[in-house]
Assembly symmetry: C2
Homo-oligomer: 187 residues x 2
Amino acid sequence: MTNVYLAGPDIFIPDALDLGRRKAELCAAHGLRSLYPLDNAVALAAHDASLQIFRGNEAMMNEADAIIANLTPFRGPSADAGTVYELGYMAGRGKLVFGYSNDPANYVERVGRFETLDKRDGMLIGADGLVVEDFDLPDNLMLIHALDLHGAPLITLRKKPADLWRDLTAFEACVKLAAARLRAVAR
Amino acid sequence: MTNVYLAGPDIFIPDALDLGRRKAELCAAHGLRSLYPLDNAVALAAHDASLQIFRGNEAMMNEADAIIANLTPFRGPSADAGTVYELGYMAGRGKLVFGYSNDPANYVERVGRFETLDKRDGMLIGADGLVVEDFDLPDNLMLIHALDLHGAPLITLRKKPADLWRDLTAFEACVKLAAARLRAVAR
């Protein structure tokens, strides 16, 4: 059985257990076993709860053959930091990396939602005085090209769905793609 | 010679080449050779410039024995996505990972700068309706504990420096720590 680690800030929605079940069902329907952070039982009141969560997630990633990462922007123009860490970790371990985003906007447009951009010497500058990456990519080039070279290009929707955190259209397309690629590898 | 990859959104400041030189000097003073993204010559107008940058950075990471990541929050409450990807990649490859932040605030305080937080059923909820991680850590637990377990704990300052992107006090402390740890490994 092929194991896929499911990463994303959608574990922070109040009904994340339910979402995890829906994601697991979609994976199973395509022959994949999903590993989901909330599958680990952790007592949140424990003094070392965060460390237990880290160890649990890392163990799952080590067990997984691939990652499917929800790279929808989270609390800013970029994907969730925890998810991006996991994407990098899996790429570093030579696993296949897949990702999707429920927000089709490119990075410049995303940054522009939060601040006014300036043009100086032909470069876009953010409110912080720092250059805004302008390659017409949806997020920082390291994430986007990691997918291109270590898995498959980012899957995104033509427009934002009504429910940004619960719509699984892009996720399901990603699962199909991952299943096909993992079957090809297994042959 | 021990090679250290220098990651951080400070490559986006207008005087990033100068900053890179100062960082390289501090590394050299502690016996480390630094690999810095801007050391790769890339024609930004090339049609595949972003891919060239990705390949250059990945090659540098593969060559490096460790990473020193600037995890100062960038365009939101968390560290820069590209930097976090690189931190994960290096941890995944079993390299030593070090990080510093020029912002000592914890994650809850950082999120609170951008939005009003709610308390519901004993949990902190952000404006997006999603739970805010509340472990009194400076950023997402995956980043922070990756440093704890695969390198050394995050180095931070007691207070934000006057120049958030050019102050190298925390960076230098991180270089010293990395040099000591790398010497211990090499023995």
